[in-house]
């Protein structure tokens, strides 16, 4: 988790128009995904889920800064477009890194890692509960939508007003669920701190793994500081 966090910091440290600099940075997420044998379907699902957010952040940049930047030969590209492309590449790498972190590690172990990083307990608890109950919430939402379609004899989703009512109803159900959930936890002795499995200890193997990747990140970032002939190799620190 620490390695992934630092990886994201390094990605963010590049200048805003950097694109090709990120090519060697694919080694970390792709290498991890291949070693952990994460199925392509899982990666595709995460990408599809995050794609609208990535596009929403990147696309406006294409229209913001119209200053031109030399591309290949005589062709040029606007600074805004380069920034948008850079954001897309960074975002995609961040998603890949997140999949590489989350897919092979059992979720409770991630929560243990969060706690070791001194993330406050209530936050860890919320993440854990959210992960567990998102499926239950989806199931309830799907059931409500199905019921709406059957009763309205329509294949479409609900128009805005009924949709708002359904959302409100879902919220009320969620609140009711959270009350019952609290009772369920209290009945088992919960008093505010959730006990998590111990997870793996940070040993020599983990130390070597972290040191190896962090050294590589440092080297890549250092090498990228040297001036390149192409503007997409932006180098430097901004």
């Amino acid at each position: 988790m620490v390695v992934t966090g630092i990886y994201l910091v390094f990605l963010a440290s590049y200048p805003r128009t950097a694109v090709l600099d990120f090519l060697p940075w694919t080694i970390f997420p792709l290498g991890t995904l291949i070693v952990e044998k994460v199925p392509l379907r899982t990666m595709a699902r995460w990408f599809l889920t995050s794609a609208p957010f990535l596009l929403a952040v990147a696309i406006p940049n294409f229209f913001l800064d119209s200053q031109s930047l030399r591309f290949f030969g005589k062709t040029s590209i606007s600074v805004g477009a380069a920034t948008g492309l850079s954001l897309l590449v960074r975002g995609s790498l961040a998603v890949l890194a997140a999949v590489a972190l989350a897919a092979p590690v059992p979720f409770p172990d991630l929560c243990v890692a969060l706690r070791r990083l001194h993330v406050p307990d209530p936050l860890v608890l919320q993440v854990l509960i959210l992960h567990r109950y998102i499926a239950v919430l989806q199931e309830e939402a799907a059931g409500m939508l199905r019921a709406f379609r059957i009763r309205s004899r329509s294949r479409r989703g609900p128009p805005p007003v009924p949709a708002a009512a359904l959302l409100g109803s879902l919220l009320v159900r969620s609140l009711e669920r959270s009350r019952r959930l609290y009772l369920g936890m209290a009945a088992r002795g919960f008093k505010g701190r959730i006990p998590l499995p111990q997870g793996h200890r940070f040993g020599i193997r983990e130390g070597v793994y972290s040191a190896g990747w962090l050294s590589l990140f440092g080297i890549l970032r250092f090498l990228s500081c040297f001036p390149k002939s192409h503007p997409f190799f932006s180098g430097g620190f901004g």
């Binding site: 059992p106 409770p108 854990l128 499926a135 959930l181 009945a187 088992r188 002795g189 006990p195």
Partner: protein
């Protein structure tokens, strides 16, 4: 027989003022199995939650063993199986969820995992150890919740509709399992057949009051009493079940005459 738990004139009201329990006086013997039945809104679930210490009575006293229960803490001698197992199975991995109660009790990690595995084996669901609750069937989730409730070795097991949403095989499995347990069981349910099979004693609750308390076999055959309180005699005790009407059915008669075994829905 000594009372393992005794409620003396217990009243409970919800925060909005709705009275849910009226002067409940109830004594439950150690190791016994008691069924709590009644129509919707009778106060069955509330009674279980008051017993577990999750709800605090506004009046009356509760004795567990020799001592009166004081304070507002949840009583660790009681375990509850909730109606909806999704309210109870909170961890994204079955083994972690079963070990939850033990970890709360600050049990060593290795011991907690060993005991959780043992409990899964006892219930016969050890194959589910690494599964995510969202990928379990309703029956499997209920068994996981039961494992989580039993792993801390409670003295009292409070079960809220333990058979709801279960197919016949899962229902049979849970009944047989509960029959084999030594804990004091209090079962709140609409499933009168379950009570007939599992609980020698029945308490009939209506509008938050105990209206009958006695042997299950007697209460379940008292048609007028059950009808008055929104229930009916269980199917297995009805006269028409003892003298089935099926032989008059021409389809059934033909099968009977030809010696073909009768298979419904086949």
């Amino acid at each position: 027989m000594t009372a393992a738990v005794l409620l003396e004139a217990v009243d409970y009201s919800y925060p909005d003022g709705t009275r849910a329990l009226h002067e409940i006086t109830l004594s439950v013997a150690k190791g016994s199995r008691v069924g709590v039945v009644g129509p919707n809104g009778a106060g069955k679930t509330t009674l279980l939650l008051v017993l577990a210490g999750l709800y605090q009575p506004i009046r009356g006293r509760i004795f567990v063993g020799e001592s009166s229960r004081e304070g507002t803490a949840v009583d660790s001698r009681f375990s509850v199986l909730f109606q909806d197992p999704d309210d109870q199975v909170i961890f994204p991995r079955v083994l972690d969820d079963v070990a939850f109660g033990l970890r709360i009790e600050r049990c060593e990690e290795e011991r907690a995992q060993r005991k959780a595995r043992e409990m899964l084996r006892t219930i016969g669901i050890e194959a589910l150890e690494h599964r995510h609750p969202a990928r379990l069937s309703g029956g499997e989730k209920r068994l996981v919740a039961l494992a989580g409730a039993l792993v801390t070795a409670p003295r009292f097991l409070l079960l809220d509709e333990p058979s709801s949403g279960l197919d016949p095989r899962a229902r049979r499995r849970i009944i047989e399992f509960l029959r084999s347990r030594k804990e004091t069981l209090i079962v709140a349910t609409h499933d009168l057949e379950l009570v007939l099979e599992l609980c020698p004693r029945t308490v009939l609750l209506d509008e938050g009051r105990i209206v009958a308390d006695g042997a299950t076999s007697e209460i379940m055959q008292n048609g007028p009493l059950l009808t008055r309180h929104g229930l009916e005699i269980p199917y297995s005790l009805r006269r028409e079940h003892i003298h089935p009407i099926m032989p008059d059915d021409p389809h059934h008669r033909r099968h009977h005459e030809e010696g073909i075994p009768h298979t419904h829905g086949a």
